[in-house]
Symmetry: C2
Subunit: 583 residues, 2 copies
Amino acid sequence: MGGKIAEKILRVDMENLEIKTEEVPKEYEELGGRSLTSKIVSEEVPPNAHPLGPNNKLVIAPGIVTGTGSPNSGRLSAGGKSPLTGGIKESNAGTPFARTIARKGIKAIIVEGKPEKGKYYLLKLGKGEEELIEADKWVGKGLYDAYEELHEEFEEDIEIAGAGIAAELNASNAGISYTDPEGRSTRYSGRGGLGAVMASRGLKFIVAETPDENKKEIKDKETFDKGRKKLANALMEHDITKKDGALNSYGTSVLVNIINESGALPQRNFSDGSDDRSAEVSGERKAELIEERGGVKPHKCSPSCIIQCSEIWTKEGGEDPVGVLEYESVWALGPNCGIYDLDTIGELNRACNDLGLDTIEAGNTIAVAMEGGLLDFGDGEKALELMDEVYEKTPLGRILANGAEFTGEAFGVNRIPTIKGQSMPAYDPRSIKGIGVTYATSPMGADHTAGYAIAPEILGVGGEEDPMDNKKADLSRSLQQATAMIDSAGYCLFIAFATMDIDEGMEGMIETVNGVLGTDYSIDEVMEMGMDILKMEREFNEKAGFSKEDDRMPEFMEKEELPPHNVVFDVSDEELDRVFEKE
Amino acid sequence: MGGKIAEKILRVDMENLEIKTEEVPKEYEELGGRSLTSKIVSEEVPPNAHPLGPNNKLVIAPGIVTGTGSPNSGRLSAGGKSPLTGGIKESNAGTPFARTIARKGIKAIIVEGKPEKGKYYLLKLGKGEEELIEADKWVGKGLYDAYEELHEEFEEDIEIAGAGIAAELNASNAGISYTDPEGRSTRYSGRGGLGAVMASRGLKFIVAETPDENKKEIKDKETFDKGRKKLANALMEHDITKKDGALNSYGTSVLVNIINESGALPQRNFSDGSDDRSAEVSGERKAELIEERGGVKPHKCSPSCIIQCSEIWTKEGGEDPVGVLEYESVWALGPNCGIYDLDTIGELNRACNDLGLDTIEAGNTIAVAMEGGLLDFGDGEKALELMDEVYEKTPLGRILANGAEFTGEAFGVNRIPTIKGQSMPAYDPRSIKGIGVTYATSPMGADHTAGYAIAPEILGVGGEEDPMDNKKADLSRSLQQATAMIDSAGYCLFIAFATMDIDEGMEGMIETVNGVLGTDYSIDEVMEMGMDILKMEREFNEKAGFSKEDDRMPEFMEKEELPPHNVVFDVSDEELDRVFEKE
């Protein structure tokens, strides 16, 4: 084993419109996904760089196992300094684009510099060559249409990464969109505004042609195959991930009823933890409607997936307007805005995908605008009109595209559910404390995927924890460590349901990574690597101006009781600081 | 001497609409102005409080000598947690309102709590009683008209503090306006958004009736009188402050030509340090026009002033549209926007005064909007139209009223001249390094008045320093210490020109303070008190999330050379940190 991995780094110099192919430095060989994007950002981006200025960079890296046949391995990481948080950002997505670039032998794409102001380019990763092509003609166009046109324009089988209209505004809630298996703009590195980092470098699209030959190297095929089978078996065995299991049957929205019942599904800008009407937008109800209307379910978001928690939301009459409606999106654009109608939520989600907006941030933004009096809670029609403001690039559209905190400041709101500038996902931290510890302390800002404490706190996966127990530093820390490695491996986070409960699954996951890299890491070593990634990210943030006071809940969550349990966020500062100050 | 000072603290509870009179606690007796506002804010406002939320407070305190007959003593401090910087704020103003509340025996006004949403009140400080009166009828009204109406409505001689339309938006660039001697809205605690803190507590105006009897106590009249005379003599002797001296002849705008010649007068959003057209808006030119047009000059901003650097800007035809045009305002709304016409600047300044916007922040905001493509540099007509957006409370108006950093984010600009969120004043720190050290390290954000290094660097006052020398930590520190005490004493900062150069003046200033308090502090002790104030403010900021990385220049000033000297800001991080890390 050992020896040089036959992979490359693509460095795209947008100032001089040049593409360089670089060898993978030795110290990057065992990295991938998040460990690689965070490493490159830490080494190449000055922490005081303006996120939209010439010295920030966008880094895209498929995971370590991405491109292989391992299950649920179609992930990539996008990284850079975030215009939303002002800190380092890794934003993970599952998309066939990840597999395609991995199979082309691309370890990472680094986009740097800025072209002439207002000029946009498309980076074509062809079968033979790479080139930059003028892309001004797509400016102002929605991504659903743009991706259709790109599929027509390029004759080969392609996958796309794109920056939408929101990104053209350099807005802090502009994500990077990727194609799903049907070629639509539905897969996202949504969080943290990396679409604006991409667009501010003058890069509108990356179009990757599927290679004839898979260049992804597996150094120890035997170990890899052994691991792959163990992992697949575990996934097919666990109640949450198996065929006809919870995710496969109802998608991620299976959580709507569960979290609503636990009193932690935020309603109307985090002013209540449950509402009976939530059932109208539940996974069960959605599955029923999709079936009635003749939609597609289950569906996979990326080629290697065997969980298949995705689906295609279907309008009355059978038309497919959006793609998948995920739990977080349904919640953000639904109950959090007092909206309890899946068709309205579907339209709002479509607008987000089309504009290139992260749905979690967009839903929180609308809810904060509602709190600020711009529209009433529950007014779906007006909410949809707000999306038009972004299409039309009006001043109001610019406000909204910059996210919840920005919108709150514009409208004088003081209840803004953000940490490090990033909006909270669909779990109120007052009634599920562990996820709150993750929100507060993750270097990414409020992010459930950074250390998904919901698993033990609500789902009974990976042990059982009382959601009201306010000692959760150890739990959050170990989840954040494990997640950092899953994000680096290139696995979907949902494999963790199986690997936390089934030892063979965990072994299998580690064997696939060892197999690809030709290494022999133990689980303890892998967990240590997770901590190394987190420390590197936190060091960047510290140099960018973050202190422990940034690892805190917004004031109102410490003061205002959340019904129905009438609880505040009562995790002490000491407990929060303990996550990364372990003796 | 010694014994209890016969002064009181007014605590205005806006939630229950109650006014309490409290005795001055012993540890506050020797405090005033900034030392008192920063002390009360530090003790009563939680550092994590949302600036617009229920737990922030607005504190207004006249200086220690304010209300006496000492020259240039008509100052007050407003304090609170700033919605602009997110840190502690002291914003100082010269106004007859300061003298009036001091003479009423008011040591400080503390405004706390919030009434029913959208309700506004007027705090009447009558001759006998204090009361809260409904003030909704003034919502949406410009301050010039509102103050005229208030003068009609209240029969007594009154002074006013007010929150304008910008404050009704809860906008981060909303200042607190005070009356000038003619009763107009021209005196400002402009910086840091304290108007929004006032308005978010439901307080629209404070109307203070002039008392029949001066309750300001002077414990040691003999020492006080001795000091007062020494200080007055020094002021009348120094070239900058004397009658027919620089300030008295040309107002603060005397600096336009001087700073332009030194290559440090920022042009077009800090992209050049000089422009020949600056002469068109110089103090000399302004004085000429005011004379031609039959205006008032010199003029004093507050009753005890003997420098008289104010004037009343005059339109063609002799009409007075604005009040004074200060150097900082002329620069911000003029050369920094590529506007070189005093009449346009006058109209812009009037709009700021009328809306309740800080002119420095407003000018930077327009310049950043120009850089972002909303309008062209030099387009004064369009700039005036932007002010209408604030009057009309449109989304664009909300963006602009939130200041330069906010506007920059809305329009995707990465050259934003702010520190801790607050816009820089009229000296480019790349070509005058010492003022840059003050901008970077002051707990207030970019603020020239926090430690006016221009005096020795450009004016040869208080010694001579090479503006290009990048070792300025010691200079900035001692200026910041002295300033903290001047802001606490209640003196206009301009007395420092005389006290830095004339020892008797400095002695006199300290004697007036000792006289009022019945103390015997030495100059060294006074300087130590200055440091104590700064440390208290920095401690608040640290708890609010600031780190040493917040004591830095924006990235572009470290990278982009400023003509005509083609210099970057090259003060090292170590030198910046040395200001407050003195061994």
